[in-house]
Symmetry: C2
Subunit: 379 residues, 2 copies
């Protein structure tokens, strides 16, 4: 028995939207092999992607439902989705890991799109991809990255409902900071307590939890927790990507341990103000670069080690578009974004702040409970 | 402050072993871009790989330390490792996501190995890879999959110590099954309780937890938990890949809820016996196919939907080699393997059992506390 995350109509709509774009670009088929895309078109959700042993393929044809070309081990779970045409292959296999089955399924398609651009990966051996293209030598493979980005950037209300729930779970756990974190605790203990609290509050998983702590700021935003003990005057930051039904929240919160210096208080106010400056102009028709500039203006820095100040959010921790000075993607209704201004404080120290919003026809909707300007003092 | 997982000597030995194999194959450089390999040569461990936005590269030259070619956001954390030569690039970037920096670092290398074979992925956009090869048109790119498999398959005692600890954490949590799982509980609740117990017992994370439950067996081994309630007579199976310092345990346990049918009892005994049959012959010089055959003989089935009955284990949930009839990889001392016999019970039902072992000079060492032949009755 498998619980499905969405009604069949959700997948019908996704497929229709894809096929409309395919028709505009005269594409005969789309080929996907990565977890978010396979799940997007089929509803196939499993942690089995942790295993690199087997490739998984989904083809979106010009008309009709997607076709799954997958290892036998996935048959039972794929059969529980809305997909009817499930072609399986034995894997691991001594010399044919689905390539014959995939080539057969694509035979007759002349123009095949697959993601080859920004943020894409080829989740199959390069040797096998070369074998596939040699088997399909009458076909042309073109980049479908812009197509899949355009599709996935605009969420359905059903997707937003899940994102709202996981963000609420994140906000609830951050709200428990006063009882979870304290002076003298190691960062490892603090992270462990927070992760357990997220799961208790209903998160399926916490694939991403990073952060740091230090006097007057921290060194980076991607380190795992150390045995370092929280001290009075530290700024503690936790940034979490917890999941529900395969959808991520992605925001952080800063805490001052027992007291905050004026510099830290001021930096926190600036960061919160920067996020609100971006939110206040976030409307359909504005661009990612507009939001980036709104934050940079408040922060008063022209550059940052982080290089961007937010990104798309959904079934991946980070998705396109990026809030950078050069990303001119127009915002659209139901786009879900993180606003993530950061501030360099000198001496290798920094602070970062992050909120999650949905673009609406009018003011954006906050998914994370927005942080107050004053940094919370705990501990 | 970052805690390092290994002493510098560990990375020196890994690099030396790689360079010995490179010399045999006249390779000028190895190029890696995937998390396990970047971590293997540098010690760079972060959950930031959850974000697909940026590529990360490590080059192993013929002599000397590896070179990191990474986005600026990783500078602080990479500088805490043993790596000295860290070349950074701005990312996201409008049109050059590290390709110029990477091409510069590889200039002069004529024969470059990168993984292109079994279980490999190209973790960079295909367009960028094509750009890289066109910039390095005097270089030949060859498949380094066999080389990196050979290296990573044989663990160091330092790696085994971590694997032993995470397997012990898994065994401890499975030992708590009687208090964690009970009749009437939903599978979701059972999985949640188990995950929290693993984290409380010291696991850093639980990236993999799948399983199922049903009368007389379950349908597959890759489904996420549902709202289905545990009933008397169910067989409940949980299969966990919990991590410590980036290393996985990967084993499962079966439980009978309040009572077990004779068929289930017998199947469980057969599975445990099959795992021990493989363990009893697992010695350096034997092959993966030998272990597979030893299990198949006990089980008395010639085929299975799962297609393999175990695999390598380490910094990934599943690694090479595979325990299949066609994998003739010779076992070597300090290889860490899972033994994973499965049994089809008819009517779409199956049972699976898994243990983790280290190949030693003599009897293998069990990392998981071996299951008893009798299925535990709980609930």
């Amino acid at each position: 028995m498998v619980d499905l995350d969405f009604a069949t109509s959700e997948f019908e709509q996704r497929t229709e939207r894809a096929q409309t774009l395919m028709s505009e670009q005269s594409l005969d088929a789309l080929l996907f092999m990565t977890e978010p895309e396979v799940r997007y078109f089929t509803g196939f959700r499993t942690l089995f992607w942790q295993s690199p042993a087997r490739p998984w393929f989904v083809i979106v044809p010009k008309t009709g439902k997607p076709i799954a070309v997958i290892p036998q081990i996935g048959t039972h779970l794929m059969a529980s989705t809305w997909i009817d045409d499930i072609r399986t292959f034995a894997a691991p296999h001594p010399d044919d890991e689905g390539i014959t089955a995939l080539a057969n399924a694509l035979t007759g398609s002349e123009k095949i799109g697959l993601p080859m651009g920004r943020e894409s990966v080829l989740r199959m051996p390069l040797k096998d991809f070369r074998l596939l293209t040699s088997k399909l030598r009458h076909a042309t493979f073109v980049d479908a990255s812009p197509l899949i980005h355009a599709l996935r950037q605009i969420k359905s209300e059903a997707e937003i409902a899940i994102l709202k729930t996981i963000c609420a779970i994140g906000s609830k756990s951050f709200g428990n900071a006063g009882s979870l974190f304290h002076e003298g605790q190691t960062l490892k203990e603090a992270f462990r307590a927070f992760k357990i609290d997220l799961i208790k509050n209903g998160a399926d998983d916490v694939p991403y939890l990073v952060g740091g702590a230090g006097q007057g700021g921290y060194g980076d935003v991607i380190s795992p927790p150390s045995e370092q003990r929280l001290q009075s005057g530290d700024v503690l930051m936790l940034d979490t990507g917890a999941t529900l039904k395969g959808y991520f929240c992605d925001f952080d919160r800063n805490y001052a341990i027992t007291h905050a210096s004026e510099t830290v208080q001021s930096a926190h106010r600036t960061l919160v103000q920067a996020a609100h400056a971006a939110a206040s102009i976030a409307r359909p028709g504005k661009t990612c670069a507009d939001l980036f500039k709104a934050m940079i203006e408040v922060i008063g820095q022209s550059d940052s080690d982080v290089g961007r100040m937010g990104h798309g959010l959904g079934s991946q921790l980070t998705e396109t578009p990026s809030l950078t000075h050069f990303d001119n993607t127009e915002l659209g209704e139901r786009m879900v974004l993180t606003l993530e201004p950061s501030l360099s404080l000198g001496g290798g120290k920094m602070m970062v702040h992050e909120e999650n919003i949905v673009i609406r026809d009018g003011e954006p909707e906050f998914l994370s409970t927005p942080a107050e300007p004053d940094i919370p003092v705990i501990g």
